[in-house]
Structures are given as structure tokens and as C-alpha cells.
Symmetry: D3
Subunit: 278 residues, 6 copies
């Protein structure tokens, strides 16, 4: 499986909240997108890791992701260790994305900002020619979302073709994986008050993106008696919509998702620079 | 004359130092570009306003600008007054550019940073529907670069077509000019230590841009006996090249010019975002 | 008329978009609030200055403002001149507010950011003991919203009592106005991407604040045939709501308005500091 | 023991230099305050860990702290490890403070800035419902300041009542501690050049706060022959006073301590916002 | 009179509060220093312009300034106009300082921050070769502090020598003044919360600097009956001392004054870079 | 061996790119300079660790460094661990530099920014009086550049004298090393877009500095057939020169290297402050 774009996040349901609309938009353009969740959500207040795996698979289907996997890093304890960097680097060498989306490097949840540094350093490590990353010890397949991965491998609409698999084989030796460094790393941020470098218009993807979040039924519905399900959902809807609309306004569109990049931009045609100045 | 892009600067030879390569690149893409110099350079240590007018026309020819004009604002005394805003707004309503390039809003020379604010507020004023800007009192024609303007009006390769002139007539009444607000305002900066929002690759335009600067013979050659012309030119060359190369490195190209914008960006396709991250 | 809080803005309908909910909330707490519009809106694309005066009076009624006036500064041409500073200072000495709300010092519209500096410098001038500001030449009464001002003076529910009028007389001599410097100056900002110092919860005032904006019928309804009134209104509603909800999320409430102050804060009781950290 | 406010710092005598006045002020308002020193000071140039324990107890008495403890993290080697996070989280679950004061996240001493991150991540961990933190393995009691803790437990003026102890028992099971996440986390900074979010007026507490610092006799007096005790003390006095006065000036009071928070503020009443603007 | 260093400020007694110690230190090193007050203090609450002129002369004597003058710009109304720029440029061309000290470009008092921009633009104007600044119309001599200026001209200890006067004559023609642009412009700031670029150790000058401030008897003593003179003075002393000590601590000395510069530094010898890092 | 200045970097050839000119300039002034490479370059795409050791020795000779060593930290895996801090602290206690140059704390390569934190914390640790750092376990000698170290020890032109060796012995006991904390820590940065605190003029050292970089033949020449050596070298030359010239322009010299420091500056004489303002 060779991907164009891989979003890495700490928890299942993170990408749905930060860059789900963008992932869907890119998939609709014909790119192969993927999601790597560093943990499996066993520390969540509601639901088990198994519940979340099913929900994550459903969300990935809605977002038309070609691949989704999870690592065995403990939920609530994402640490920027050498072992964790190797785990992520292995996935990067296997999937070989051109673009990697990471969480913003500041945030409320330590797992989020640590995932940002961990992901960045794994991108670096994956590209070091002399760094040997064993193929066998990959733990992704054990914890991935097999239904998606399989359908992807068996050639469904959003999956890679056999050529890519051969390419992958050619690039990598029997036991180790060939180096790969993503071309572009961008950062998605979930309502932390930072000015984005750019936003992506997700007006057409907004409803599906919201549905992908709602796929996490154990998280976003309230099973206890005495609670009214719909108001809670409406509150979430209101907040998600306000956020997307706020970033939309910054970019002159209805709904958008915000991103940061560390590099300066490169513009080819001044007449094509979007967003009205005045 | 209807323009696509108009660069506004305080002094003749300013745009040659900040965004000349970009203007040329855009002209080579088929856009009509123009240059508005707010002053005529009468305070320069070397040469007269007439010398600079001739040089500016030559530089405009090298940069393939479709139009170049100068206002009668005193050199060394660019002030953000209502009268000056009207003068600039009149030019904006006549030329109706989609993109306006202004100087950066900080700088060493007061004329530069004042030109930035003056240009911005003129863009705003030009777009106010109820602001009446008289056509007759325009002073541009008196101080413009007639040779260029005429050739432009007589329909040569880089000039506007008759349709545009008619359009201009249609839009504007006999005595006043129809409102026009540029879509995009960007800021060009000349080695002030600020991180640009984006750079424009001018590798292919770099030599011509340097020649446009050298067209200012009264400024960049040393006529006094006892001075060696070439070392001075070589020093200028070294500095101009180092600057363009430095900004080129930020964008992963050989030579570039830096720009800022106040808006956030809007990206349509993550796979197309340029500049390597890692 | 002595006020507790005075909001100064460039245009009628500005405060309704930035701090209307806060003004209403303060009025509901029993404070006397006022609005000074620097211009009368004659440059607006739709409607006349007279239309806007009527609308502003209605909006003030909805926001329970005890006073609203407008100066004769030309719309689209707010300049930070000595004369304009005197005009604003005169109002400040008459109304003697403890808190002044100004527009944020950056923005898209030159009138907005100039009003910020003009308002600040007028606050300073109003407090200079030796600065003589003549009572007679006040232009406020000529351009104010008489219906409001009169009702205020005749003692209706939101107006000041006679005691305040006497106090005002005592403080000021027959011909000049006694110095007054506001204690606190804060800045309200309308969706410019800056992190606020604090937000004010306007959950309970949000609907009325939206109605105060809708009172500007010439601005926010579309009278032309072939346009559907309601979708336009719904679009405005969506944007206003998204903004208020976004700032609400920053402060942990449903709807809020953002403000900046230049001073550091002073906290008396750590247990009372609001907004959850984690 | 249930606390209202807990200050966490790397070394004994840190809180006395950053937020001692604020802790005392809060205690005088009737809140129960506590101090957690991550290390025991064994690396200090002067005095032993036992000396510092006695001094810390005396300082806590002066600051009217209801509780003071120290962890067994090595002095000079505060690391942000999982084990250390568990140690701090255990204390947080036992003491259940609403407000936690951490050191600023930048600084000269690595222990200080690491304590900031460690403390933050421990606050997060302590609130994770599924994170099991064993009650038995707590090391606090071994290294705490027993005299204070006992007096606190035996119900003296500043200690918690028996009700709190029962509450603590109710919340926590026999072997593990119930989750607790502080509502508010603020950061105290010791003369690092950063603009504080707010300051706390400690004019009335300044002298006692200085005495709490002087309680560290091994640190702030000079036992060697040939040195004059008083000038050294006077020098410290001068510096401590200048710092408190400087931050006092920012807030318009005589002496103050500076704090940062990451959240925006939330203001209820504009007329109550302190600190004169102009 | 040729100066080495000229401090420009809006009001008499400003330099005494921001850079008086530095001016004295430089004078003690043998440099000729001067002070240009843009206004004459007629708006001050206490005392007349004549009182302040006498006090300013006394303060200048204490600070060993070789020259002090005042312009006729109205107090409380420092504006950045062409006329005011010419007035300051004339002084700069006459005194020809290498270093100019301006107020910081932000501040509470509009006169202060406007003086910063005005002073900067006057430095620029003074250096334009083709800008003709008439000698005759200089208003400085009318409003200067004659007693100081005369003693300086008659060659006392702190004054310039006759050679400089001749040089001045040589440089300037009968009617106009030769161009002069200061080499270095730095900014002094009075307790505004900004991090300085560098501080100057004024430990040895601190007492004299304080006396120069106390020379403004109309400002810093309280003549009204029922007020105790000394506590007020002690309060001022406390604040001035705290400020100087705070900035001293940043630089590792006892008392210091803070400055900003816009340029990057240039260091010749790494072993000589002062201020301990750790 | 006692050094004046020690540059610490992650990889052999790092200092040649960031501060090599400055090191040479300082050596030419008579200071003893040294270079500590944290890793030995075994992960580099071209060449072995042994190749790089020879090249590093040659580069050190060109830069006239009195000492160069490398630690056994794995290339591509510089981690901020206690063990690594001890390794660096041991070197610091042995070489006792007054000035330490570290990499900038942000960057593209994780080894670079981690080396910055690691180096800083090692400086802190080296100065803790009670931190015992064993002399025996030093790994520097095993991996150092013996040829340089020996020549330095045998007293050649750039080496320390016997007095220093005795001093070193006196300071340190038989088995442990005496504490040492550098006075000054500065940060060198390689074309990351940050504004430097100061630059160092390396116009006279530029050519030698470039030669020191070219000494890394395995890195900067292309041995494969079919590649032209000189264009590649010319490209490197162009980039290195552009960078040095850009920073030179900021400081008003031809070539310069940029540095940051965290402290404010301390200026003794305003007339000596370099870099023209205007």
C-alpha cells in the first residue's frame, strides 16, 4: 500500500476533529489517504479499545481513507522514545506518503503535542539511509483496522493498485524497509488559539466529516438513562460548526480546516493567490 | 489601460530592488503589469528627476511593464494625507488591477513605510462606491513615462487591447471614475529582517531584474573621476545576488523575492503545497 | 448625562458587531452605557445618513444604551487630527465614563484602526488639566440621536437622573468642561485573527445583540427584487453566531465577545480565576 | 487533607521566591494552601537535605500553608518521566486542589522548566479516569514535612477538618485514588523577562514572604568568618523588593507577584476590571 | 557646538527618568552630550514653562550635559508634521551627534510615542543631501536654556572647544545647514513592559540621576499644606530605584537603564560578551 | 587542556557551517578554541566514521582549533538523557571554557535541536558543586581526534601551556573533576529564519572557513562517475557565500555568522555601539 497523504494523530477520533474534511476532499480528488492512530483509546472514559476500533473503521470508510492503522502505544502515555519513533518510521517506510499531517506542537492534551514531536522525528528517522528499520517487528498489522486494510489491499475503489504493492516490494528488501522521507509535513490544530498558515475549504465535505465524528457512538452519544441524547449531539454539532465556520471566514469560504506549516510558501502566480485582502 | 498587477513604491528604482523579478515573471505569463512611483526622485543625491524618468522608462521596458507612472508627491516627503490618497485612488480606478504590490509596512526609509499605509488606504478609498474621484484632476499623465504609456495605448505586444479601453469608458462616467478595489494586496520587502509569507521563484528572471536596476545609471555607476566603476557594480551585484539567493534557499529554489500577506492562505490541494519540509 | 461605559466606534452598526452584547449585559447590571459613532454613515453603499440615524436609535434602544451620539467626521475619512481629538475629548468630558471601549488597533477598514488611535489620544487629551475644551463648540448635539438623548434627559428607564445632570454642571464651568480621563480603556475586535486578553459571556444577550444588528434594515436586508431576503439574513446569522460561539469556546461559555487590554491583569483571589485550564 | 491551592516547585525555597506572598494571601482569605517540593535540596552548595527540611517547615509555617511535602526526585535531575508523573499525580489525587501553581515553562535552571512540564502532565494524568494510581506506593509521606502534616491532620487552625479526611476516604478506594483534575493551572515566574498575564497584590504579605525566604538560614546567611552577614541579607532584600515593586508598578500596587495563564480571561463586569489604562 | 550624543524627548524631565544615568556616564567618559526637549511643559499640572526651564537647566548641570534646548512644539500636542520634522532636523544638523536617543515607539503618553517617530523621521530628513534646512528660522535659540548654552559656548568644563565651532561653521553655509545623519539611533523606555536589547550599568550614576529628577521641584515636591513632602519623595525614590534595580538584575549589575535598538548587534570578541548566561 | 571557547555540535561538519569563521577569528586573536562533536557521523550517507574523523581533524587544523573531540553518542539519535549530559559535562569540566557555542534550539534535524538542550543542561550540570563527575569514565579520549589533541598537549602554537595543565590538575582531584560552569552560552544557527541577536564579522576568515567545510571530501565532493565535481562545489559555494553575505549585510560588513543569546546585552559606551541605524 502506497499512500499520498498520511494523517498521524494520538487518538482515534482526533483526525475526525482536526483534518477529516481535508482528508475526504483529497480522497475525492483521487489521492490515497491514510490515518495512523498512535494509540487505541483504552483510556477513554467511555467504551473499550475494541469499540473504538470498530468506530474508527466506520469513520475511515466515511472519510474514504484507503488505510487506517493503530499502534500499540499506551493511550495517555505517548512518549517521544526511540522505540516509538521506530514504530512510526516503519509505517512511514511502508506507506511512503508524500504529505504527512501531524497534530499542532502545542495543545491541552500531552498526547497531542507529544505526537507532534514524535511524528516529526519519525519522519526524519524514516529518511535516514543508514537507519535500518526491520520489517518483521512491525506491530501495525496486529492493531490495524483489518477490514479497511484488507479491502484496500484487495483493490476496491479507494485502494492502491497492484503496481504499488510491487513497487513497495521492489523498494524494500526482504527484511528491512527502504528509506522514505515525506516531502511535506503540515500541522492540524483543534481550536487552539493560533493563527493558521492556511485553511482548506471543506464546505462540500463538512457534513460527511461531521458524520465521521458521529461514528464514534461510544464517545458522542450518552447512554445513561436520564440524559437526552439529542441536545448533547446538537451541542457538539454547534461547536464543530462554529469552528469550521470561523476558519472558513478567515479564508473567505463557508467551512474550513486550519493548518500550519513551518516553511515559507512558494507562489507561482500572483493572480492566483486566493483570499480577498480588503 | 486595464492592468492585472500594479506595484506601488515610493521611489523610482524601488520595485526593481524588491519585486522586479516577479513583475517580469508575471508579464512573461501574459499578465499586464504596471508600476506607480509615488515620487519622481528629485531628492536623490545623484541625477535629476528627468534623468530618473528616462532610467525608469528603460527599466520598465526591461521588466516588460505595460504601464509606468509617477505621482507628484515630493521625494523624501511621502505623507499619508487625504490628497495623496485621492491621487493614488485615481490611478487605481483607472488601471483597475486585481493585485497590488505595496512596500512592507516597516523599513528604514520613512517614504517606504508611509507608502505602505498610503497605498493600503488608497486601495480602500478607491473601492468606496460613494467616494467621488474626479477624472480631470489626475496628475499622473503629467509625470508618467509617456513613451511607455503611449506604446501601451497604441496597442503593442504588452499593452491593453481596445476592449479594455472601452470597458474603462463604460465603467467610468465622463467626469468621475468608477469604484475599484483590488482583490489582493501583498507586500514586498527589501532586506528587512522579517520572515516572508511566501517567496516567488525568479531564477529565470534574475539577470533581467538585475539589468533593470542597472538601468538607473545615475544611481549605480560612479561618474566621479578617481572612482572605479566596476568594483562598485560588482559590490551591488554581490548584495543583490546574496539577497535573492537567501530567499531562494527558503523556498528551495535558486533565486527568489520575498512577500508578505496579512490574510491566511487557502490551499486547494495538499499534494501541491510546495517547499520541502524536511 | 454621566455614563459608566462609553463605546466609541467609526460607524453606526460597528458596536453592534463587536461589543453590543457586552453593552447590553452591562446595562442590565444597572450601568449607564453609551455609544459614540464618529461618523454618520453617509458613504455606506445602501441607505442615507438619515436612515442610519433612525436605525442606530432603534439599535441603541435594543441594547438599552442610555446615550448615543454621532460626530460630524466624514465617513470613510476618519483622521487622527487635533480637531477630531478635540471633538471626541469634548464628549468624554461631558459623559465622563469610567470605561471606554475602542476598536482594536489593527483592522481591514482604515476608519476602524484610525478610530482606535484617535479615541485613545482623545482620552489622553480629555484628562489634561490645562487643556481647555470649549463647551459651546460641541457638535455632538447637532448630529446626535435626539430621540434617545432627549428621552434620556427626560428621565426614562435607561436615562440618567437629575442628580447626574447637576453633577455635570458642578464639575464643568459655564464655558469649558472639566478634565476627565477614563480609568480603563479596552479594545473590541471584529473577527481579526488576534488572541483576546479576555472574553465576556454574552450567552443571555446574544439574541438581543443580533436584533440590534438587524435593526440596520438598510444594511442587512436586501430590498432589490429577485433577491431572497431570508437566506441573506441566515448567512449573517450564521457568521455572527459562529464568531460568538468561537470566542465562547475560548472562555468556556456558549457565546462571548472578545476584548484586548494593554495592561497586565490584577487578580485578587486565585480561586476565582475563571476558565478551565485542562 | 483536601487543599484549595497547591504550589509545585522543583526546590525547597522556590515558592518562597515566586509565589509565597500569594500563597499567604490566599491562606489569610481562609483557603487551604499547600506546597509540593519535587526535590529535597541535597545538591545545594550549602546545607544538607535535613537542614532544608527544617527550614522548609518553618517557611511553610510563616506562609500559613496547610500542607508541605517533598518528593524523592533527585535534586538537579528533575526529569519528565512516567514515574515522576505518577508521583506527582498521586499527590494531586490525595490533595485534590482546585488551583495548581507551576513554575514558568522557561528558565535558567533545567529543574525549573522541567518541573513545569512535569507538573502539567501530572495534572493531566491525575484526571484520567482509567489511570490507576496506587495509594500504597506513595512516597510523599516518607519525605514530607511531618511536623506540618501532623499538625494539619490534628486539626490546628490552618488544617483541614475531619470532614475533609472522610471525603477523601469516600472518594478514594482502599488501594487506589480517585481521579482529580485541577480546574486552574497558573505559572509563577522568578525574574525571567516575560510579560505576566496578571499580578497579585502582595503589599500586605510582602514582609512575611521575605521572612519565609529568610527562614532558609543555610542558604541566605553566610556562616563563614570574615563575611558580614547583614550586607548579604540587605542585597537579597534589595533584589527581592525591587522585583516585587516592579511587578507592583505594572498592576498599580506597591508589591506584587507575577503569573501567567495559557487561557484567555473571562470578565464578568467591565466596571470591575482593575489596573488604570492611562 | 558639536555633540557626541543627543537625547530627544517630549517633555522636560523625560530624559531624567529614562536615560539620565547613561547621559551622565557618557559625559563622565568625556563625551559631549545634549538634551532636546520637544516641548516646554506648559501643560503640566504643576508649575509654569518658566519654572520648568529653570529646573531643566539645573538637571542638565547635574547630568553634565553640554547642551540643552527646547522646541516650541505645544505640550500635549506633539505631532509628526513636516514643520516639526524640520525643527528637529535643524537641531540635528547644528549639533551633529553620532548617537541619538529617542523615546520607545510605544507608550502611555501620545507625546512620547509620537516623539519617537518624529525624532526618527527628522534624523532621516537631516541626512538628505538635497533637503535644504534654513539656518535662520531655527527656533531653538529662542526657547533653549541659555544659561547652559552660553556656559557651554564660553568653554567651561563640559563645553565644546572652539575647534568644533569652526568645524560647524565650515560644514554649514551662511544660510543653510549641511546634511547630517546620526550613525546610531537607540530607544530609551520608561517602565513599559518590553524586553530591552541592552542595558547600561548606571550604578555609579544612580544617585546623581535621581538628583537630576529631584531638580524638578515643581513636579516632585508637594507644596500644598496638609501634604507631607518626604513620603512622596520616598515613594518616587522607591519606584525609580526598583526600576533601575530590575534592569540592573537583567544585566548582572546593581542599577541599569534599558534601551532598544532595531539593528542586530555586531560582536567582535566572544570572550568579551558580557552578562552571565547561567 | 584549558579552553577559552568550546563549540558543541551534533555532527562533524556542523560547526564548519555555522560558526567556523568565528572560531578561526577567535583563534587568530590568541584564544584557545575547541570543538566537541556529539556523534561520529556513522549515519551519513557518504563515507564512514573513520573518514569523517580524518576530515574533522583537517578542518580543525584549518580553523586553528586547539582541541577537537567526539563523543560516542549514536548519530541520528542524540537524546537528552542523563548519561549524555554526564558525558558532555565531563568534557566541560576538563576543558573549562568561558564561552560555549551551542546549536540553535530550533531546526530541521532533531539531532541539532536536541544537541542544543543537551548542551545547555550539561553546562548547568557541570557547574553543580555536589554533582560528582568521574574522571575515569570519560569516553572522550577514546573517540577524540588524537592527532590534534596530542599536538595540542605537546605545546604547539595553538596549544595550552603547561601552566594550564597544572591548573587543571590542581582544580581536579585524582578521580573526579572540579565543577565548572561556562560564563557565556551563545547559539549558532544555520539558515533557519530567525533574527540573530548579533553577528560576527568573518570577512577575513570566510575563505578559510569555506576550506574547512571542503575538508569534508566525502561529503562535499561527488565521487560517482558521470557527475561533475565542480558545479556541485560551486553550488555549495554559492549557498554558503549568500548566507554569510546576507548576515553580513545585517551587520554592515561583507561576511558574517549569526548568533543568538538569551540574555539582554550590556553596553558600556554608547559611542561604540556598532551597526549603522539609518
Amino acid at each position: 500500500m502506497i499512500l499520498d497523504i498520511l494523517a498521524i494523530a494520538a487518538h482515534r477520533d482526533d483526525v475526525e476533529q482536526t483534518c477529516g474534511g481535508t482528508l475526504l476532499k483529497m480522497a475525492e480528488r483521487g489521492y490515497r489517504t491514510g490515518i495512523l492512530d498512535l494509540t487505541r483509546g483504552e483510556m477513554g472514559t467511555r467504551g473499550s479499545a475494541e469499540d473504538r476500533e470498530r468506530e474508527a473503521a466506520e469513520a475511515a470508510r466515511i472519510l474514504k481513507a484507503a488505510w487506517r492503522g493503530a499502534l500499540d502505544i499506551p493511550d495517555g502515555r505517548v512518549e517521544n522514545t526511540w522505540e516509538n519513533k521506530l514504530k512510526v518510521a516503519r509505517v512511514l517506510r511502508e506507506l511512503r506518503p508524500r504529505v504527512v499531517i501531524l497534530p499542532y506542537w502545542k495543545g491541552r492534551h500531552p498526547d497531542h503535542y507529544t505526537a507532534s514531536t514524535l511524528g516529526y522525528e519519525a519522519c526524519f528517522l524514516a529518511g535516514l539511509k543508514k537507519a535500518v528499520v526491520s520489517r518483521q517487528s512491525s506491530v501495525v498489522s496486529e492493531i490495524g483496522a483489518p477490514s479497511i486494510q484488507q479491502s484496500a489491499c484487495s483493490g476496491d475503489a479507494i485502494a492502491s493498485t497492484g503496481e504499488d504493492a510491487r513497487l513497495s516490494t521492489d523498494i524494500n528488501s526482504a527484511d528491512t524497509l527502504a528509506p522514505h522521507r515525506p516531502f511535506k509535513i503540515i500541522y492540524a490544530t483543534l481550536y487552539y488559539d493560533v493563527r493558521p498558515t492556511f485553511v482548506v475549504d471543506i464546505t462540500d465535505q463538512f457534513e460527511a466529516r461531521f458524520q465521521s465524528l458521529m461514528a464514534y457512538k461510544t464517545q458522542f452519544s450518552d447512554q445513561e438513562a436520564g440524559k437526552d441524547l439529542f441536545p448533547a449531539k446538537r451541542e457538539i454539532r454547534n461547536r464543530v460548526e462554529a469552528m469550521a465556520r470561523f476558519y472558513g471566514m478567515l479564508g473567505g469560504v463557508e467551512f474550513a480546516e486550519p493548518f500550519l506549516q513551518k516553511e515559507v510558501g512558494l507562489v507561482d502566480d500572483l493572480m492566483m493567490v486566493p483570499v480577498k485582502s480588503i
